[in-house]
Structure formats: C-alpha cells, structure tokens
Amino acid sequence: MEQIKDDIVDYLKANSFMDNNSVLGDNDSLTQNGIIDSIGLLELMDYICEKYSIDIPEDMLTPENFDTLEGIANMIIKLSK
C-alpha cells in the first residue's frame, strides 16, 4: 500500500506535476489542488495500467478511485488481485 503511494508520488514528481519538496497527503485532491488536469489524468492512468499490468474498467474512473493517493492505491490493490 505505502509502496504504491510512493510510486505514484515519484511519478508525479518525475513528471513535474509536483515539486520535489512538496508534500501530498493521502487524502488530498489531485484535481482540486491543481496538481493534475484531465489530460494529466489520462497520462497517469496509462502509467498505472502499464506499471501494475492492470486494466481499469471505465466504471472505476471516479473521483473516489482517482482523485487521491489513498483512492488510487486502494483501486490498484483491488484490481491486482
């Protein structure tokens, strides 16, 4: 769980969505905080699908599953099983 969150934060930092020194809480909104927009979310989705070898069904593309680190990590765990 923590590993997945770290991976996502590393991705966001490596791709300059956020600064190296900034901190992102597990339940902070990615969209409302201006970290990522709809085009960026598509990129993040592609990264997650490839990195964890999962397909994300479209009905899981909700704010609950995609707008926070906690939501994303939970979704990945659910889909990896």
């Binding site: 969505f17 409302q32 201006g34 990522i36 960026g40 995609f66 707008d67």
Partner: protein, 497 residues
C-alpha cells in the same frame, strides 16, 4: 434584455422547474433566482465595475456570473485551467479591482494571490457570502460591456473579448433555434464554462427554460453517469468525443437516450462521426463552428448533411451573415479562397483595452475571423487553415510563437520551436524543437512546461537541433518547422535501424 432576466422570468412562470444540476444536487429556477439576488445584493453599490470570477466549473460559478449581471456590473471569468503564472500575467494587464471567488479557490491560490484586488468576496459551498474587503472605485468602461471572455489556449497575452447583453442574448436565441431547445431539454456542461463554448451552453439552456447539468471531464465514469441522468443534449469538443469513444460499450449505453451530440471548438473528423453513428444510430450529430469574438457560435452543419459535408462548417446560424472576402475586402467567387468574415448582433464590442487589435479584427462592421475559407456551390463553407500562424492544440486555438517566446524567456535555451503533432485523443498535441544553449537540460524544459502551461500544451517530446528551421526562401513558419521536425525524425529512425 439581460441573460439573468430570463432566469427571473422562468422563476415566475415555472418556479419549480430544475435550472441547474451538479452531482446529486439540483436547484429550481425559483431558488436559483433567490440565490442570485442574495449574491447580487452585495454588488449593487458598484457602478458598472469589473469583477473577476475565479471558480471551478460548478453551480456556484453560474450563480456568481449571473449575480454580476444582475447587479449591472461586468463579469470577467478567469480561465482556471491556466497555471497561476499565466493568470497573474493576465491580471497584470486587465485592470480588475474586484474579485469573486469560491472558498476552494481561495485556499488553493492563497491570500497572497488576492492582494492585488481592492474587493475580495468569497462564496462558500452553502452560498454564504464572505466579504473579505470592499473598496469601490470609479471605473470607465464601454457602457455596453457586460462580459469579458478570454480566448482559450493562448499562453502569452490572452485577449479579452468584450461582449454586451445584446451579443449574449442574440447568440443564445440563435443557438436555441439551431438546437431546437425547449424547457424540457437538459444540456450537459462538461467543458470549461469560462470560455465561449461552455458559456453559450449555460446561456442557451437557461434562456429556453431548460436545465444544465454541470460536471467536468476529469473522471470518465462521472461523465458517463452524468450523460445517463437523462441528458438530452451533450456538448463536447472533438477531443471530448475521442476520449469517450475509448469506451465504446459504455458510450453506446450512455448516449442511447441522448437526442443530440453537439460539437464545437474544432472540426469533427469523419472517423469520430462514423464511430458515433455506428454505436448510436439514432443520435443526431451536430457540428458547430464559432469564435469567442462572435460570442460563441457562427455556423452549424445541419445533422442530415453530416455524412456528406463533415469537412465543411455548413451555413450561418440564424441572425448571422457569413461571407468570404478576397484581399480587397470584396466577396470572393464560389470555390475561391479568401478570409471568412461575419456580421450579426453576436459580434463582440472589441478587445478589452486594445483598440488597435480591435480595429484590425472588425473592419466596416465585419468580423475578420482569420480563417481561410471557400464558399461551396450549395452555400456551405469549407475552412482551409489560418491566415495567421495560430494552430489548434487539443481543440484550443494557440499561438505557437507566444508559447515559444514564453519558454525562451523563462528557461535556459537558445531557441524553441513548437511543432503540432498528431495525438490519439487530443487530435493534435505539441512537440518542441530546441536549439540548446550552455546549461540546457531537457528535464528542466519539461518541468517548466508542465508547471507553466496547461496540460494540453505539455510537449510530447523535446528534440535538439543545431540550426534554424528555415524554409527555402529563408523564413520560419509552421510549415518550415514541421518540415524540420520530419527531417529530424527520419534521421532518428535511420540511426535506430
């Protein structure tokens, strides 16, 4: 007549009818009218003053916009997808003393951002109004000015388009006719309401007594759920449809009960139309064309002609006259290329604080669109590119020279050239050709773009070159840059193989 007056009228005639929806919330015309009055009551002591609106796409945004109208002031919605840096640049030139914002945006941008404003009013989620400070200054504005919309996409110095009540009402009425909107229609607003297209969805549905369902394009499941909540008209730019078509089964299910899928902001290509028609045979597809300078809409392609004429913009909407002018400003013959011009009550008052640009754009009452065009024998109009260097990226009109200058001025590089490249979902994205200087780091360039440009302008790739991409006659143009890019790519493939 002002746009907000329609809301008052329906608040009297059909008070219980739903005006706006957002997620599980909805509001009737009667309640919407009351909320608008409550916000407007804090603005009535301003006399035709400029109010920036900084708000996410939401019912709150629409309430604030209508409250500025109702208090007879001037609304200036800020393009919220712009990075902070671009917004600050825009505000430096726009002379705006007052701002209305949401608590969400207030905490996101922080107190410092708002220091430049004499008046700061924050609206919380329950629509309670918090006046942080109020400083009423006398302003001199064009007496007809009601709304300033920023043209989408530009990154250097976006132009503010000045619109009047007459502009807004006439374009809303034209759109109502073209889309046959009635009080039973529900429109889906998932594109930005801060630009011309989104703004026109709000105006035309509220002026016909129907409703608007407010969302965004961030989360695909939410978009499909929104469409399935009995939306009768869906609006999107071509890339909106490309993204949704990635999920064909769900698309089919979601659009089964939708009457019309309307588009604007860029040409719909044959492939999108074909796929949509195959998935949902009964769906009416209605491509439209317009410009912010024309409030929103100028032309539409009647649904029955979509198969045959999807490569045209069709014909003028009611109330608009379109023509194609030659270089002497005389009407061009059929099948002869010239510049598309437009006249009608929807043509803007001019650009905000920029008379020189206005005089170049509106000549003898004709809006010169900058689009090269030909009239076809059946009266339809085909576009053939731009007179200037502007390009469409992710359905936003952008000036590549401004993007280049912005990157050159703010990073360690010698020269930057923007190349439009095909993109699966956006239609067109950009890559960069860069002549490096000492200290040029690709990572820093990417990082600058990500932070300071909207997502659709983040480059797909950055390639180094060592000479200027000149054409044979020694000039730099989009064409010569694209040629150079192809050349670089071809060489890279040779090296790889």
């Amino acid at each position: 007549m002002r746009i907000d007056a329609y809301i008052s009228e329906y608040a009297r005639k059909t008070p219980q009818n739903i005006a706006l929806e957002e997620g599980t919330n909805s509001i009737s015309y009667s309640c919407l009218d009351t909320d608008i009055n409550a916000i407007a009551s804090h603005l009535t002591d301003f006399n035709h003053c400029r109010f920036a609106i900084l708000a996410e796409s939401s019912m709150r945004y629409i309430k604030m916009l209508m409250a500025v109208y109702r208090s007879a002031n001037i609304a200036i919605p800020l393009p919220i997808e712009f990075p902070r840096f671009s917004l600050e640049k825009l505000l430096d030139t726009a002379h705006i003393n007052n701002i209305l914002t949401t608590d969400t945006q207030y905490s996101r941008f922080g107190e410092g951002f708002f220091e430049r404003f004499g008046t700061v009013i924050v609206l919380s989620r329950d629509t309670s109004v918090n006046i942080l400070r109020k400083n009423i200054e006398t302003e001199r504005n064009n007496p007809e000015l009601r709304l300033v919309l920023y043209t989408s996409g530009t990154t250097g110095t976006p132009k503010g388009v000045m619109l009047s009540d007459r502009n807004l009402v006439s374009n809303a009425e034209s759109i109502i006719k073209v889309l046959r909107l009635t009080s039973s229609d529900k429109g889906a607003l998932v594109i930005s309401p801060h630009h011309a297209f989104g703004n026109s969805i709000i105006n035309s549905h509220l002026a016909s007594g129907g409703s608007v369902c407010v969302g965004n394009m961030n989360f695909i499941a939410s978009v499909f759920n929104l469409i399935e909540s009995d939306v009768s008209i869906f609006y999107g730019v071509p890339s909106t449809y490309r993204i949704l078509l990635k999920y064909p089964d769900r698309f089919k299910r979601s659009f089964a009960k939708v009457r019309t899928a309307a588009s604007a902001g860029g040409g719909m290509d044959k492939a999108i139309v074909k796929e949509m028609k195959e998935l949902v045979p009964g769906l009416e597809i209605l491509p439209m064309y317009g410009q912010t300078e024309a409030t929103a809409r100028l032309a539409y392609l009647p649904a029955e002609d979509v198969d045959e004429f999807v490569d045209t913009i069709g014909k003028a909407i009611p109330g608009v006259t379109l023509d194609v002018f030659d270089s002497d400003c005389n009407p061009a013959e059929i099948n002869t290329t010239g510049e598309l011009v437009a006249a009608g009550d929807n043509i803007m008052l001019g650009y905000l604080d920029d008379e020189i640009a206005t005089e170049k754009k509106i000549i003898n009452g004709w809006l010169h669109t900058g689009d090269l065009a030909q009239k076809l024998p059946n009266g339809y109009i085909r576009l053939l590119g731009r007179k200037d260097d502007l390009i469409k990226i992710g359905d936003h009109r952008v000036n590549p020279r401004e993007i280049e200058r912005n990157i050159e001025e703010n990073t360690e590089v010698s020269k930057v050239f923007v190349v439009p490249v095909p993109h699966e979902l956006m239609g067109t994205a950009i890559s960069l050709l860069v002549i490096p200087s000492e200290g040029t780091e690709i990572e820093n360039l990417f990082s600058f773009c990500r932070k300071n440009l909207p997502g659709y302008l983040c480059p797909r790739e950055i390639l180094f070159i060592d000479h200027l991409p000149l054409s044979e006659n020694g000039k730099i143009s989009n064409r010569s840059i694209i040629e150079e890019y192809k050349h670089v790519k071809a060489n890279m493939q040779k090296v790889c193989s």
